[in-house]
Every structure is written in structure tokens, then in C-alpha cells.
């Protein structure tokens, strides 16, 4: 049965978006975080099917999917190396576009929004590149606080094998190749992913991120996630 939820005020991490007139949510924002190869998209597909079968309207959204500037981001990364603050602001602009044009309207309308990554990945990437955590936090003062955030935790060595099996190569940035960590791509990947994992560990309590063991089989991870999501949605009724 579709739930009847009383509108709740949107909560922001900082200053919020002062020019918005409608600031309530009748839906839920659920974030799945985790590195490439952690199984995010498989989980999002499974959760979407399950929630839709239960009668929920579901919207999935992810980084780099903005129609406005999304495609440009990918091109720019490979053409000219951008500075770390430039890149951080660029991703923030893309995120803001999706937040205001997709996520917030969907929440007004009562959707369950499944976000394939959120500001935490952007903040972690910035931190490992030497940008201050406080600046990143302030930058995302316009971001809304999700209702649930999961982090799919998979050891870097395991991730390497999964990514290689799936794509046959490593993504330049996901391997931290811009950072000069090691000439050896495997070593660079492991060091980089360890750095990202450490950032997530540091963010856990501050942002209420729930760590999920992503090293298990897909159905096991899904049972775990789905139970937590169902419990949460039941609590809103």
C-alpha cells in the first residue's frame, strides 16, 4: 500500500537554499555510497524493483548525470587537468543542478529518491587530494540531509579484481592516477581507495553514514539493505 506521509521540513547541512519557497518533503532520500565495484548499481536496481512492487514512486539519481553539465565533466577531465578546487566546485555545481531540478521536486512529490552517491564521495575525493574538510562541508551547506545513507564497504584488493573483471581496465580517477601515489597502477588504486575508505570512516558519525559489508554476495547485501530501508519506511507511516 502506498504510504501517506505528512510533509516534513527539508533539513540542510548549512545555510540551505534561502530562495526556495517550498521546503518540505513528502518522500524519502536514500543514499547508497561506495567505490566503483562495490555493487552500488546492482543494489539500486534491486531496491528500485522491490520498492516499486510495494507501490512506491522511485527516482534514481547519481553523480555525473546532470543534463546541464554532466557530459562536460567527463570531457574536461580528460582534456586538460583541472586544479583540485576547480574540480571540486565543478562537481558541486553539477550536484546542485540535480539537487534542485531532480531531487527536491521529487521529494516534494513524495518519491523515494535513491541516490547513487551523494556529497560524501565528492568530499572524500577532495580530502584525499588535500582540500580541507571544513571547506568541503561548508561548500555543501546547500545540500539536504538524506533520510538514510549507506556505505558499501569492500576491501580495495577485492575492488580491484571486481573492477578489472567488469571493465578490463581501471578508471583514471578511481585509481587516483592524478595523484602520483605510485607508478604501479594496482598499488596506486589500493592506496587511493584506502584513502577514500578512511575519509568515509571519518565522516561516519558526523553524517550518520551506515557501513554495510559489501564483500558479501549480492543477495545477502540486498537482504541487509532492504530490511533497513523497509524498517525506515514503515516508521514513517
Amino acid at each position: 500500500m502506498t504510504q501517506q506521509i505528512t510533509p516534513r521540513p527539508l533539513r540542510f547541512y548549512g545555510e540551505g537554499i534561502s530562495y526556495l519557497k517550498r521546503l518540505e518533503s513528502k518522500g524519502s532520500l536514500i543514499v547508497i555510497e561506495g567505490p566503483d565495484g562495490s555493487g552500488r548499481s546492482s543494489q539500486i536496481d534491486l531496491i528500485t524493483s522491490h520498492l516499486e512492487a510495494a507501490g512506491h514512486a522511485v527516482l534514481t539519481t547519481g553523480l555525473k548525470r546532470s543534463e546541464l553539465i554532466g557530459a562536460g565533466i567527463l570531457e574536461a577531465k580528460h582534456k586538460l587537468p583541472l586544479g583540485k578546487k576547480t574540480l571540486a566546485l565543478f562537481y558541486a555545481a553539477d550536484f546542485a543542478d540535480q539537487l534542485e531540478h531532480k531531487i527536491i521536486p521529487a521529494l516534494h512529490a513524495g518519491y523515494v529518491v535513491l541516490a547513487d552517491r551523494y556529497i560524501y564521495t565528492l568530499m572524500a575525493r577532495s580530502s584525499v587530494r588535500g582540500i580541507g574538510r571544513a571547506w568541503s562541508h561548508d561548500l555543501f551547506g546547500f545540500a539536504i540531509e538524506p533520510d538514510l545513507v549507506f556505505y558499501l564497504d569492500v576491501p580495495p584488493e577485492e575492488l580491484f579484481h571486481r573492477v578489472f573483471q567488469k571493465y578490463g581496465s581501471l578508471d583514471y580517477y578511481e585509481a587516483g592516477a592524478d595523484m602520483g601515489l605510485s607508478d604501479d597502477l594496482f598499488e596506486s588504486f589500493v592506496l587511493y581507495q584506502r584513502g577514500i575508505a578512511k575519509e568515509f570512516k571519518l565522516m561516519e558519525s558526523k553524517y550518520g553514514i551506515v557501513r554495510i559489508d559489501g564483500g558479501r554476495a549480492i543477495p545477502d547485501v540486498n537482504t541487509d539493505l532492504q530490511r533497513r530501508i523497509d524498517d525506515y519506511l514503515a516508521s514513517l507511516r
Binding site: 530562495y19 562536460g72 578546487k85 555545481a93 571547506w135 561548500l139
Partner: protein, 233 residues
């Protein structure tokens, strides 16, 4: 890290369109180059890398104030990381036609909070001097609107729904920006230039102010007016 003793100087001009700031910065640029100083000129919203990526969005006129603000911050950061910061470190005179105060004025008028915009730009070095060109808004706008130019959507502030007429919208928008600038004069220690004075008079005020940044051997030269276009003393 100890402050670099050979660090350059950051000189900024701010003011609304038509206030005459670009003309003045151009003359200052010529003067400093005539004294054989290393000079780098940079202007607002001019990064090629960012322009390529954002022009599509701007054409669509779909940008929210937050996205708009962040795209300009991206442009600024690219110029800052690529040019402004390293060249200051290398001892250049960096001349900026508009700086973070332009973002503060415009983004706040569009509805972003000034606290947030300031935090976003907190990585930017405070200028050694910021010249603010104060002109009655009507005069500045008459200068710009004289030729009935085609105003761009965001330039005219059309996204703010101030008026359906783009010239009327532009006037209201510029007047609000002036309010924001005026609120920054004290807080951000602007050196106010009376933009209604003659061009030569304004330039003279600026050069006198910049003179103290020059190496001592050049001060005398600059004063004597032997540097081409030096201030008439």
C-alpha cells in the same frame, strides 16, 4: 610556510558595468608594463576550460542561483589555481578585472546567502588593494544602454523576474548590485574611486596608491614621469 618575501601584488577593480573600471585597469596595466614589471591581467568569467562546459547550461537559461554561483566559482578557481596563485607566488603584479566581490554582490542579489558565498571563496587571497568605482547607477547604466545593446539573459538579471522588459530588469538588477557593493566598502576595505571624475584624475589616484607596491628603485622613476604614461606630477 614562511611568507614569500618576493610575493607579487594583487590589484583588483570592482564596480557595476559602465563604471569605468576596465578602462582604468587597462591604463594601470600599461603603466606597470612600461616600468618593466611582470604583469598578469585576468578577468571575470573568462576560463576557456569552464566556458566550454558551461555555455550549454547558460544558453538553456535553466541555472538556479546556487548552480550559477558554483559555475562562476569554478571559473574563478580555474583561473586562481592556474594563474593568479602561482603568479603571485612568482612575484607578478596580478591585475583582476572583478574578483570575489562580484560573486558576492551578484549571488546575494540572486538569493544565495552571503555567508555561504564567502565560505565558498574563502580560499581566495585578500587583494592588496581593491579599487571600487562608485558612480551613480543611472550614469553607469546610461553608458551601457546608450547603444541599446543586446543584453544576455543572465546579464540583464532576467532570471530574477524583476521585469519582462530586459532594460528595465537590467536597471533594477544593477541598482541592487550597487547596494551589495556599498555594503562591502567598509568590511572589505575598498579604495573608493569617484567614477565621475575625469579619466586622468582617476588614474592618478590609482597610481599614487599603487606606487607604494613598487620596488624602491622604480618609485623615483615612476614619480619623475619618465616611465611612459607615468602620473603627471
Amino acid at each position: 610556510m614562511a611568507r614569500n618575501p618576493h610575493r607579487g601584488k594583487l590589484i583588483v577593480v570592482e564596480g557595476i558595468d559602465g563604471s569605468g573600471k576596465s578602462t582604468q585597469l587597462h591604463l594601470l596595466d600599461k603603466w606597470l608594463r612600461s616600468l618593466s614589471l611582470n604583469v598578469f591581467f585576468t578577468e571575470w568569467n573568462s576560463s576557456d576550460v569552464v566556458k566550454e562546459i558551461t555555455s550549454k547550461g547558460k544558453k538553456k537559461a535553466l541555472l538556479t542561483p546556487t548552480t550559477f554561483s558554483l559555475l562562476h566559482a569554478t571559473d574563478f578557481a580555474d583561473r586562481y589555481e592556474r594563474n593568479i596563485s602561482p603568479l603571485l607566488e612568482a612575484g607578478y603584479f596580478v591585475l583582476a578585472d572583478r574578483y570575489i566581490y562580484t560573486a558576492l554582490a551578484r549571488d546575494v542579489v540572486r538569493g544565495c546567502t552571503s555567508a555561504w558565498v564567502r565560505k565558498v571563496y574563502s580560499f581566495a587571497e585578500t587583494p592588496d588593494v581593491t579599487f571600487y568605482f562608485r558612480v551613480p547607477p543611472d550614469i553607469a547604466m546610461d553608458r551601457i544602454l546608450e547603444g541599446r545593446p543586446k543584453l544576455k539573459y543572465y546579464e540583464a538579471g532576467m532570471d530574477l523576474n524583476l521585469s519582462n522588459d530586459e532594460y528595465e530588469s537590467y536597471r533594477i538588477f544593477q541598482a541592487r548590485i550597487v547596494e551589495q557593493y556599498e555594503a562591502m566598502v567598509q568590511k572589505d576595505r575598498f579604495a573608493v574611486i569617484n567614477g565621475t571624475l575625469d579619466i586622468e584624475e582617476q588614474q592618478d589616484v590609482m597610481r599614487k596608491r599603487v606606487l607604494k607596491f613598487l620596488p624602491s628603485n622604480l618609485k623615483a622613476l615612476a614619480y619623475s614621469g619618465r616611465g611612459t604614461g607615468g602620473p603627471a606630477v
